[in-house]
């Protein structure tokens, strides 16, 4: 079973995503901020990380940059939930491979399709090394 870790400070989002993705057959773990996510990453080695950007204690941006710096051999894909659509707000991800943006409001069906495609290996266009 593929493992997904979700980091978001909005409990409702965590609740719906967890429920929906578990129903699709994924093992879902949730946490409320970047710091917690880092701990879970080391313990559970998920296949996918879904993170919000604006979170207390450690933002999604800080989390991703930290991962990029300290886990050079990571083998999981990162989804970043964002409210912003402008390109300059995505500049910071330029050097981070295997990272995708999910624009809010997020469509669960769309997310599930992407995940399924990723694990089935049918989506090549992703920046997966």
């Amino acid at each position: 079973m593929k493992k997904i870790l979700i980091a978001d400070d909005e409990p409702h989002v965590l609740r719906v995503l967890k429920l929906s993705l578990e129903k699709e057959g994924y093992a879902v773990d949730v946490c409320a901020n970047g710091k917690e996510a880092l701990t879970r990453l080391e313990q559970e080695h998920p296949d996918i990380l879904i993170t919000d950007i604006q979170m207390p204690h450690m933002t999604g941006e800080e989390l991703c940059l930290h991962i990029q710096q300290h886990m050079p051999n990571r083998n999981f894909l990162i989804f970043v939930l964002t409210s912003r659509t402008e390109i300059e707000h995505r500049e910071w991800t330029r050097d981070i491979p295997n990272l995708l943006f999910l624009e809010k409001p997020v469509s669960i069906r769309n997310l599930v399709e992407k995940l399924d495609g990723y694990f089935a290996g049918t989506t090549d266009s992703w920046r997966v090394s």
Binding site: V16, S20, Q54, H57, P105, V106
Partner: protein
Amino acid sequence: MQLNQRFGLTMIIATLLVMVATVYILFDYQRDSRAELARAQGLDLVRLLSGMSWDELVPRQGSKGLLEILKRGQSNPDFAYGAVVDIDGEVAAEVTRSGVIVPPGDTIDEPTSWLGQRVLTAGIAEHQHYFIESYAPLFEAGVHRGFVRLGYFQPELSLSQYEMPFLATLMLPIFLLVPLFYFMLRREIKPLKQISERFENLAEQVGFNQVELQPSQALSDFMEQFGSYIEATQTRIEVLNREHEDLTMSSKLLTYKNNRVDAILQNFPDAILVIDEAGEVSYANGKIERLLGVEPQAILGKKTREWCDDPQIIPLLTFGDVKSSMQANQDTVQIRLEDHSEKSVQFNVYPLFVPNDETCILGRLVVIRDVSESHLMRQRQTEFISHISHELKTPLNVLSMYSESLLSEGADNEEYRVEAVNVIHDEVERLSTLINNLLAINQYELGGVVAQRKHVRMREFLEDAFKNITQARDDKGLEFDLDIPREMSMVYLDKELFRIAVNNLLTNAIKYNKPGGKVGLSASENEDSIEIVVTDEGYGITESDIKQIFNKFFRSTDDNIRKQTGHGLGLSLAKQIVQMHHGDLTCTSEPGKGSRFVIRLEKVSSQIMDAAS
């Protein structure tokens, strides 16, 4: 009398004077010559006679003596008498011109004075005569016997009829020369006169008063001319003085203009640098010190590298290739000053072209502007939009997800359906509040909000607000403390607006509190005013932040504060609302211990001031 006539008359008088003087000098000379002749002749003759014997000179009765021969042979018209006298002065023999008496002469005793000359007088009153007498001793057989005396009239100034033709001949050429001289003089004077007339005209043109002169015509002309010349010179001096004054004035004006330009440049809100073609600073105003930390005087004539060591700035103020810098250039850099303050500084570089030739550059004008404020404002706005979009999209996201999941999940899970509907309802509320806040802020900015005031019971109002807030947000184990007097006056205010202000303060007190901390709402009142106090035991606000917390978009850089979502609008909005009610909102805080926000409302004036406005 005309100038020429006066001149002519003067000439005639002068001529007559010359003639009289000439005659006088002539006669005087003639008289002197005659007197000299009388002396010389007399002396010669007495010497001659002195060598003769007494008897030869004193003839016997009836015979003619030598004296008689002398008289007859005498050609000198001035000859008066000749006499032989003995030692006692008695006349022994004499010859005289008719009408002349031999004057008695004093006896001469001293032998050294025996030969000599003297002047004697004879006759009375107007018939008195002066004689030049020469005398010499006479001897007979070596014995002094007496004297021989010869007298001549002492010549006087007189005009004899024989001299008249001579005088006339002398006077005539003089008299004829005068008109000739006069006309020649007139001819000579003519050009001078013309100059005089010109001076006169000049004087009339310049318009000064002529000096009235009475003396002789020529002198008067000369003086007039001279006066004109002096006045013309004075006029010229005046003109020169005026020109000098004008020059001084122009110089002052120039200095003033120069100073004015300098004052303008010095008081220009931005720093100004002029860098010449050689890359050296040729002008810098005082603002440069505040922006770049260098004194304007210290950088004059220096190249950029000599006074600046900031690697960001050097390339902006160094112009190697002329063509590349033909266009105006703009760049913004962040610089750190000596006092560790950071500034956003914008460099605007404009080429200074030679007038009418856009291919030749004299140098560059660099306008350096402190854009820290606008930079900060832009930063805050960007941050604000970022927050707003997050705040807006987060509930949207929840709505989207729940509604989507309802389709699949809600059909057979009643519990989930209820939960989803509740969440959707809450999120819609949250969205609506946020949108209302944003709209309110926008309206205040545009000045479109008019407070709808009513008399409000303060106690009920505060209790209500407090309850709503505390019930909704009790997730930190906070302690809530409400302290409101049982009786409070009615207050005249816009209930809805004022609720936003109080809500924002209370929300902050909860949001930025420490877990287990206390949130307090208290109120008090005296005769004039009402005070509403919101306290917390949160992170507190630093001294530098406290000055800015009421600014729109301001968010503290403190990590603890940053952890909380916020858009930097709450306090700004609260302050605006309180001020609309002619009240004041202030804050005191102690970092680490908590903050205290005080709303102070004037009880009486609120209504009056509202009516006034």
